[in-house]
Symmetry: C2
Subunit: 207 residues, 2 copies
DNA sequence: TCTGTAGTCGACCACGTTGGTCTAAAGTTC
DNA sequence: GAACTTTAGACCAACGTGGTCGACTACAGA
């Protein structure tokens, strides 16, 4: 919708955030346009001036989120790094940066991916599959398996490392719950994270 | 409510399952008593004949779930097993059994724990804290730290093992999504799980 | 200064759903 | 068949829904 995109970027962002949050928390069906406009601080009329209806808004959000995650996260990961742990380390940094920049997008995508309460128009479906494929490549393509211990199954080691990284992130997120992400010193957490990575290296790589 | 507890156990179970599912999926506020009765196949009147109102039902479910999880899961874990991985292994088996027996209870508890959209009467609050404390003890009390490698921080190793076990469980759950749990042969999955445990042992214990 | 246009708001609409009540019928037990 | 319990769902007022519309403002060009 050009109407929406010509808007003052600050207001635009506020509307996007409100809408993303509402859909993230409630899914498509139970999300309320009333709550969105209230949260965004705009009149009801405006939302339907920018977007022709609820579904239109929803699809716009999906496209926006897909673009954001691909452009600001997935495509920035160095796919030439063949060391699995180093690659995850780089990915974690990029993801964290993107997440600070636009927290709601990730929440929205999580809910979207595991509910799918509305089927997509083909062009979005296609882009969504592209994202999945790119996410897969990020984890498994061009990894140097020779770095791993010989006495453990490489795929299982992959998974354990992945789960470790995910687990730390989840754990951290919970510990930081409620704190204002923007005014926070992340350095100690990064250090802690690197210690975990060292342990993983020590445990799953040949030394 | 004695009215409810004198009911035919089968109908009782059906009502419990419907209600647990509804609250699990929607939280207290957005859960609908209409959907509950429809799903349970009873008339609207009956729900309010058994429970005096929505809140009463909700608190009954919490108490029921706390009891179930404590009695059928936490208190069955062998707290005398000092080997961390063996303890988790035992816990996983018991949890899986409990989860098959009453899937909704666990979903309900997850939603309940991370939303808390209603504050509890004191006696439930107390029992809830007991559960948390018991869950903590299950993981950290009486573990033999001497089994771990000397060159890694034990607490971090704890976490990585925990995240590995959780990760596998989550991964499995996703792979099995939609399949009827009851008519499924779990043996191969257990074997796979044990392989992961072996790797963890090989990686984080002294050998 | 007038007029047209783009932007903005929120009252309002018809309607569906909410938690909860009540009546009347159907069982059940003597 | 009386006395009692159990059941279903029509019904209630209150509220929330996605979406519309007319009134109003801001500002451009004449």
């Amino acid at each position: 919708m050009e109407k929406f995109e010509n808007l003052d970027p600050q207001k635009q962002q506020k509307i996007l955030e409100s809408a993303l949050m509402e859909f993230a928390e409630n899914g498509y069906g139970k999300a309320s346009t009333n709550r969105i406009v209230k949260q965004a601080g705009i009149g009801k009329g405006m939302l339907f001036y920018y977007f022709k209806n609820k579904k239109d808004l929803y699809e716009y959000l999906i496209e926006y989120s897909l673009n954001f995650i691909i452009d600001e996260y997935l495509s920035l990961v160095d796919i030439n790094e063949t060391d699995f742990i180093k690659r995850l380390k780089g990915a974690a940094q990029i993801k964290m940066k993107a997440q600070l920049e636009n927290e709601q997008v990730f929440n929205f995508m999580v809910t979207f991916m595991l509910t799918k309460d509305l089927d997509l128009p083909p062009h979005l479906q296609k882009r969504y599959e592209q994202l999945q494929q790119q996410g897969y490549a990020l984890l498994y393509e061009g990894i140097d398996k020779k770095l791993f211990r010989k006495d453990v199954d490489v795929d299982k080691a992959f998974n354990l490392i992945r789960w470790g990284v995910d687990g730390y992130q989840r754990d951290l997120l919970q510990r930081l719950q409620g704190k204002k992400m923007t005014e926070l010193d992340f350095a100690p957490y990064w250090d802690e994270f690197y210690e975990y990575l060292d342990i993983l290296k020590k445990s799953f790589y040949t030394n």
